[in-house]
């Protein structure tokens, strides 16, 4: 039975989330059940989360949600076949039934020699990434903080309404264990705050925007006043937005969320599965160039206190800091065990995705980058998912600002940018030194020619 400090109180210590011994005992129990049921190999993921979500609207408290989750996922392997179960119930009598079910599923699946655990000797070295920093705050105080954030958005008379302000605080424990004796765990915390003001023009038209902050340490969150101000400025700046005529112009994606969204298809194209299936728009790109020579991307999975740091991946394979792109040339794919075996390559520790990526820059600021493009479109928000991962064709709904003579001129909305990413990546103009740490891809504002705007 899962024991807790006090129900629905925010944990302040790791063992209040879940005692590590409990996680290990669960894994051992499951692995033993799997072996007893005939599995050659067993893999276990267990996790526990606790958190609190506050939502405030026009200063009234809308939601106070307590979260308390646990999850268990088990994969059993027999003769290179596999079966998986997942559940939120860790009780012994259920586990027995579930493992039997996993074995039954394993029996109907088919043999694939690339399936199975990491090889003997591939072990991850534990590192203290200082990821666990619970927020020592009461529910009442978090409500007051959220209300204060909402008030700080009202720094312009055109902000008449609010969609609200939110706060989240959560702690997690994650365990990976397998029948080859690996057992790795990690405790972490993450906290965030967001606010969504609504601006109104003289005609009564409404525009909304947002700003948010997130960190593992509550003290490192952006101060409320600055956050509210940022959201307010963004919302007001959208007033009077209009479409522009269709044309091919340089497009700048704002740091970091928009820039990261633009670059993320590149990361997905390096994914092992896309590569071994021959379905990547950057097929076989390893060792070849797809970006300008001035561009570098490095993976940094071990940055202390970082939101996107980890020393082991979802298959218990160690992560390691390494270059992803050097002078525009791709250094590595993102491989899990299966993909690595299919491609006859060494696993790279990317089961579950990539960690913190840091991208180089060419211009000191976004202003400098806008001056470099002269005329074009600065994209600050995007909608819709139009990306074809096989061909690289790209089409997204956007809003932002028209840039004339290197400066922001007027707000633009209800337009799209489209093109092919292979071209758009090759024709990057530059990247600014204004990255923030919110997206896992820490990249500054990024400019490309190679995309077409569709409007009126």
């Amino acid at each position: 039975m899962l024991k807790q400090h006090t129900p629905f109180c925010l944990p302040t210590r790791e063992d209040e989330v879940v005692p590590v011994a409990r996680l290990h005992a669960l894994a051992e129990q499951v692995i033993a059940l799997g072996k007893k049921a005939g599995a050659d190999q067993v893999k276990v993921h267990a996790s526990v989360s606790q958190g609190l979500d506050i939502e405030v609207h026009e200063q009234a408290v809308e939601q106070v949600n307590f979260q308390r989750d646990k999850a268990l996922s088990v994969t059993v392997y027999q003769g290179h076949k596999k079966g998986t179960i997942s559940t939120s119930d860790w009780s012994s009598d259920h586990l027995d039934q579930l493992i039997k079910r996993a074995m039954a599923l394993c029996a109907v699946s088919e043999h694939d020699p690339c399936q199975g655990l990491a090889p003997e000797g591939m072990v991850a070295e534990p590192r203290d990434l200082e990821a666990f920093h619970p927020w020592h705050i009461t529910v009442e105080d978090l409500i007051l903080t959220t209300q204060e954030l909402e008030r700080s958005m009202r720094c312009d008379p055109r902000i008449q309404q609010s969609e609200g302000a939110q706060a989240h605080t959560g702690v997690h424990a994650v365990l990976y264990a397998d029948s080859m004796g690996r057992a790795y765990h990690r405790y972490s915390s993450e906290h965030s705050m967001a606010c969504m003001p609504i601006a109104q023009d003289e005609a009564g038209a409404l525009e909304r925007s947002y700003a948010y902050t997130a960190d593992r340490h509550a003290e490192r969150l952006m101060p409320l006043e600055a956050l509210g101000q940022l959201a307010c400025t963004r919302a007001v700046a959208r007033l009077g937005g209009r479409p522009i005529p269709s044309q091919k112009v340089p497009v700048v994606f704002d740091a970091s969320d928009m820039a990261a969204s633009f670059l993320r298809p590149f990361c997905r194209a390096l994914g092992g599965r896309a590569q071994y299936r021959g379905e990547s728009f950057l097929q076989g790109i390893l060792g070849k160039s797809c970006f300008p020579q001035w561009m570098n991307i490095n993976e940094k999975p071990w940055e202390v206190g970082d939101l996107y740091a980890s020393w082991f991946d979802a298959e218990g394979v160690p992560t390691r800091p390494a270059p992803v792109l050097t002078q525009g040339v791709v250094n590595t794919y993102f491989l899990n065990l299966y993909a690595a075996r299919r491609l006859n390559m060494t696993p790279t520790g990317h089961a579950g995705g990539w960690n913190r990526l840091r991208v180089s820059h060419t211009h000191p600021s976004q202003e400098a980058l806008l001056q470099a493009i002269g005329t074009g479109l600065l994209v600050t928000e995007m909608m819709g998912g139009g990306e074809n991962p096989i061909t690289g064709d790209y089409s997204r709904g956007v809003s932002g600002f028209w840039v004339e003579d290197g400066a922001i001129s007027f707000p633009v909305k209800t337009v799209t940018v489209a093109g092919n990413l292979k071209e758009a990546y090759q024709h990057l103009i530059g990247i600014a030194d204004d990255a923030n740490h919110l997206s896992e891809l820490a990249v500054g504002s990024i400019a490309t020619e190679g995309l077409t705007v569709a409007g009126v």
């Binding site: 408290v61 809308e62 979260q67 079966g83 179960i85 939120s88 021959g278 093109g419």
Partner: protein, 475 residues
């Protein structure tokens, strides 16, 4: 239904329904609403690719949540432990943050409904061997129809959900929700070009629908889409008349109108449709409905996740705004009756207004007439999804199969593109409405505030006189 849910959900967990009911009704006098929601979700997924059954998985999740509401303030706590003790703790936690002071709002009664939208089948009983045979049939058939396929992927997921609901007013409800989702994806390689095509089907009907007729239909559709996309040329960029096929292109309604009519946004006054009840919001050719009673559709609900029967709600009638979609809290705050749109992704999430099956009623034109009337535009047949900013009303939806129309005739396929427009503006430019209503394939999922729920969409063919098509070829 109640008996079935008791047998499969409550009894195995040693949870007495009376205890749940008592907990729900044990609320202080100043509380406007409280409820307890208990749920069990069981699911099995199989997937075949490269000719092999590679993935076979099973999941089981259950839990209970207590929700307390007073004015606009909601406290919510849940537990994946169905013991009485855990429920008591959740009750305490949720109550702990409720404030004192009563509101003046009184809840209006919901409509009564007795016809079920789906029966309590158990798709989990479909034998694994039968499912695998079906997927192998799909694989073999697809490869024989199109030998140039580099791969066929087929996945089949069966889910059964049991729900038990007890409200503060003594209201008790239960539901058993089956769901089967099948997806077929093919990759076609010709020379150095490669493209994919997809076809899927989701239903709350029983497993007998997963037959050879379905397999043939999905295989043909997926292959057709892959072949079409392989030939696709650059799409136009700019404002064009667009003919939308019937069925899945109804994502237009979901984004341009649906989300903006959810009760929470309108109660807060932040939607482009706020304060517009009784006004003209679309072309008068449009009557748009949100309907949780459509038989076997994935978006249908016998009861919503607040114990209110799923219902057919007319949202827009001949262009006039008639109704918003409500959950209990927002209905009460807006002094409107609940509409059966209170949904949760699972017990671990609080309910909020969500769509069920959103569609437009048929009109009088034909698809042929619409295409013939377009001098230079696009005919869009299939979409991957969309998104909306409900405050400005701007929305997008992205094609995965579309064709150029030139001088009243379909000429060549165009690459995938995102269309963008302003909801009320675009809906006012619907100039022709087709005579045959069709629904989507039953695999639509809607995301809002981090919660994902199955939804249905539908429409007859439509002609929109002007909308921005996000291609690369501009005039």
């Amino acid at each position: 239904m109640l008996k079935m849910v008791q047998e499969h959900l409550l009894t195995p967990a040693d949870l007495d329904p009376h205890v749940v009911v008592a907990l729900a009704s044990r609320m202080p006098a100043h509380i406007d609403w409280g409820d307890v929601y208990v749920q069990r979700i069981e699911s099995e997924a199989l997937s075949l690719e490269e000719g092999k059954l590679k993935n076979a998985s099973y999941s089981l999740d259950q839990g209970a949540a207590v929700r307390i509401n007073q004015g606009t303030h909601t406290g919510f706590a849940y537990s994946d432990d169905l013991s009485v003790n855990a429920l008591e703790q959740a009750h305490q936690a949720a109550l702990g943050i409720a404030r004192s002071g009563a509101t003046q709002c009184v809840a209006l009664p919901a409509r009564h409904r007795s016809v079920a939208a789906y029966a309590p089948h158990n798709p989990m009983l479909l034998p694994v061997a039968q499912k695998i045979d079906w997927m192998r049939w799909v694989d073999a058939r697809a490869r024989s129809v199109e030998p140039r396929l580099s791969d066929v992927q087929c996945s089949l997921r069966t889910t059964q959900e049991h729900v038990f609901f007890a409200g503060m007013d003594g209201h008790v409800a239960a539901d058993v929700r089956p769901l089967i989702v099948v997806i077929v994806r093919v990759t076609l390689r010709v020379g150095d070009r490669c493209e994919s095509g997809r076809a899927s089907f989701g239903t709350r009907a029983d497993g007998s629908v997963v037959d050879e007729i379905l397999a043939e239909r999905l295989v043909q559709k997926a292959i057709h889409q892959a072949r079409t996309n392989l030939e696709a040329q650059a799409a136009p960029a700019g404002s064009y008349p667009v003919v939308l096929a019937s069925g899945l292109p109804g994502v237009l309604l979901h984004e341009a109108v649906g989300h903006g009519l959810e009760g929470d946004f309108n109660r807060k006054g932040i939607s482009v449709y706020s304060g517009r009840m009784g006004q003209q919001v679309t072309s008068s050719l449009c009557t748009i409905v949100d309907d949780g009673t459509v038989p076997d559709q994935s978006g249908s609900l016998n009861i919503d996740d607040e114990g209110i029967p799923g219902a057919r709600n007319v949202l827009v009638e001949q262009g006039i705004l008639k109704n918003y979609m409500q959950d209990r809290v927002n209905a009460r705050l807006m002094n409107m009756p609940p509409t059966g749109n209170g949904r949760r992704e699972s017990y671990a999430c609080p309910p909020m207004p969500r769509m069920t099956n959103t569609y437009m009623l048929p009109g009088e034109s034909t698809l042929e007439e619409m295409i013939a009337s377009v001098k230079d535009g696009v005919y869009a047949v299939d979409f991957s999804g969309g998104q909306v900013d409900i405050t400005s009303g701007d929305f997008v939806f992205s094609t995965i199969e579309a064709y150029r129309i030139q001088n009243g005739r379909i000429t060549y396929p165009v690459k995938e593109a995102t269309l963008i427009g302003n909801g009320p503006e675009v809906m006012n430019r619907v100039t022709m409405v087709g005579d045959t209503l069709a629904f989507d394939d039953g695999t639509g999922m809607c995301g809002k505030n981090g919660q994902s729920v199955p939804v249905g969409i539908g429409q007859p063919a439509l002609l929109v006189s002007s909308v921005t098509f996000g291609g690369t070829e501009h005039a």
